[in-house]
């Protein structure tokens, strides 16, 4: 396992944070020291950010086989308390400090290593349960298809509690490469100073990262130390993929478009040639397998036929957990239904067509349309909420205080007002079962003017 083999990489630099540097032997020493302070059993809540204490605590828990819920260091108190209560958390770890809450350990499946949330901003306690074997399998597959070398230096652009961000850390530790622990946005002076100082060779980004980079005229500069960059975490528009792929080609770099979900630890597919096929997620990662199922659950063998994308591989989660009782025993499934509709071209490359579930992603954060709708319905508003990865669209059936509605949703979902559009219609289209007909709502939405704010 990557987390047990740190000393194998000797004096290679492992972690860099500001002026601090730890080689792999020093990292293991810090991990050993931290293990002494951990509870012997139970479940811990690790509040992590991209810094050395978080990495040391994460690796110490993995080595000590102490399962953890990994969350953002900036988690709000209410959500933290919900997690502590729901999962009967025994200890909190933040900034290298361990705070024991209770010593009555609940029964936990010995396979469990890590719990990650997929809910984005929704605040649901539902977690994806991952084993050490999941983490190792995915890190190994990633090292098999990305050109990660022990001499590489990557820089963190994503949070460690996000599966994509964590997969960058795990795969680099497996390869014995260096990780610059950065908390600054790619639009900050500090980020680019650090980037140049450490001669960074790779970085990862979600669509929003690349949208910012393109706005920054990233492609009009040359970054000589850079060897490759990766994109995952949602669909980046084809023209932007093409622009970045063209840039990479001209500068002798590689650009990878990837696909994954936390339910598969992180990665499931990668496209190493986005210059040729900007719309595609490519093929399954090494040791993984993708297929398509039709509405009757039958495998689709033909090209260009849409079906649900299904994955098989050792990186499929143990399962979901909604509370402490569900941690007792997991029954791992050998297939993962992704909830995404896709098709396959004649060369075996996959293209995602849309989502089965009503989720959108704004600024890299998953937002459930049903949840936004529920918030408004709870306030007595007759409303249908639709949207895409560019905007959240609120359709009202009665005149209402538009400013107040916008403000409420922006505040609850932590959104910038520019991505929330509110429109008024005479009546919400409904299906025969009297459910809101979202397809017709979407069509109607295009035909009416936006409500003006005073």
């Amino acid at each position: 396992m990557f987390f047990q083999q740190l000393p194998q990489h000797g004096h290679n630099l492992a972690l860099i944070e500001g002026e601090q540097r730890l080689d792999y032997l020093q990292l293991q020493q810090q991990v050993d020291a931290f293990k002494q302070r951990l509870p012997v059993a139970g479940l811990v809540l690790l509040k992590a950010s991209n810094n050395i204490p978080s990495m040391v605590a994460y690796l110490a828990c993995l080595q000590a086989q102490l399962p953890m819920i990994l969350v953002d260091k900036k988690i709000n108190d209410g959500y933290q308390q919900t997690l502590v209560d729901t999962f009967k958390v025994n200890a909190l770890i933040a900034d290298g400090e361990v705070q024991v809450l209770s010593t009555s350990a609940v029964n936990i499946d010995p396979q469990l290593a890590l719990l990650l949330s997929t809910s984005g901003s929704t605040g649901s306690p539902k977690q994806v349960a991952l084993s050490a074997a999941n983490l190792q399998a995915n890190a190994q597959s990633i090292c098999d298809y990305l050109p990660i070398e022990s001499s590489d230096v990557t820089i963190t652009t994503l949070s460690p509690h996000y599966s994509y961000g964590l997969s960058v850390i795990n795969s680099h530790l497996l390869a014995g490469a260096s990780i610059v622990l950065n908390e600054h946005s790619v639009i900050s002076r500090e980020f680019w100073q650090t980037f140049e100082q450490h001669q960074v060779t790779s970085f990862a980004g979600v669509p929003y990262t690349y949208e910012m980079l393109l706005r920054l005229r990233f492609t009009q500069k040359s970054w000589p130390s850079l060897r490759y960059f990766t994109q995952a975490g949602g669909k980046l528009s084809e023209d932007k993929v093409s622009l970045l792929a063209e840039y990479a080609k001209q500068h002798n770099q590689q650009f990878f478009v990837m696909y994954g979900q936390t339910e598969a630890t992180a990665r499931m597919a990668y496209n190493a040639h986005p210059d040729k096929k900007p719309a595609s997620i490519g093929k399954a990662i090494p040791k993984g397998e993708l297929s398509l199922l039709d509405d009757n659950g039958q495998t689709i063998d033909d090209c260009h036929q849409q079906g649900e994308l299904v994955y098989r591989g050792d990186n499929i989660m143990l399962g979901y957990a909604n509370n402490a009782t569900e941690l007792r025993q997991f029954t791992q499934s050998d297939t993962l239904a992704t909830g995404d509709i896709a098709l396959r071209d004649e060369e075996g490359d996959y293209i995602i067509c849309g989502r089965i579930k009503r989720m959108i992603k704004l600024f890299g954060v998953r937002i459930s349309l049903d949840e936004v709708e529920r918030i408004l319905v709870d306030k007595g508003v007759e409303v249908a909420v639709i949207g895409n990865d560019n905007a959240l669209q609120i359709v009202l059936a009665q005149p209402n205080d538009v400013a107040a509605i916008e403000q409420l949703i922006c505040q609850k979902m932590q959104l910038h007002p520019s991505v929330v559009e509110v429109k008024l219609v005479a009546e919400l289209p409904r299906t025969q079962n009297n459910k809101i007909d979202y397809l017709r709502v979407a069509a109607l939405f295009l035909t009416v003017e936006a409500e003006r704010l005073d």
Binding site: V186, R189, R217, Q220
Partner: protein
């Protein structure tokens, strides 16, 4: 509108805050609204309002309203 008024209005729109909250002293990360997301919307707003094309260094150096004046001045926007 004077250039300063246009600038303040662009910050208010870009950051989604009240015009009254905008002053030369307002700085990146000093209010919760001015995060990286709002920063990019702000940049677009400034480029539109002043019809300029900002480069990488301009964008990452735009850390306060006062700094924005300095940077826009380089692009021939006059502030009284």
């Amino acid at each position: 509108m004077t250039s300063t008024q246009t600038l303040y209005q662009a910050f208010a729109t870009g950051l989604g805050v009240d015009l009254a909250q905008v002053s030369d002293e307002l700085a990146y990360n000093s209010i919760p609204q001015w995060d990286s997301t709002a920063h990019m919307i702000l940049i677009a707003e400034l480029e539109n309002q002043f019809d300029v094309m900002l480069d990488t260094d301009d964008i990452i150096d735009m850390s306060s309203v006062a700094k924005a004046k300095e940077i826009l001045a380089k692009h021939d926007v006059q502030f009284a």
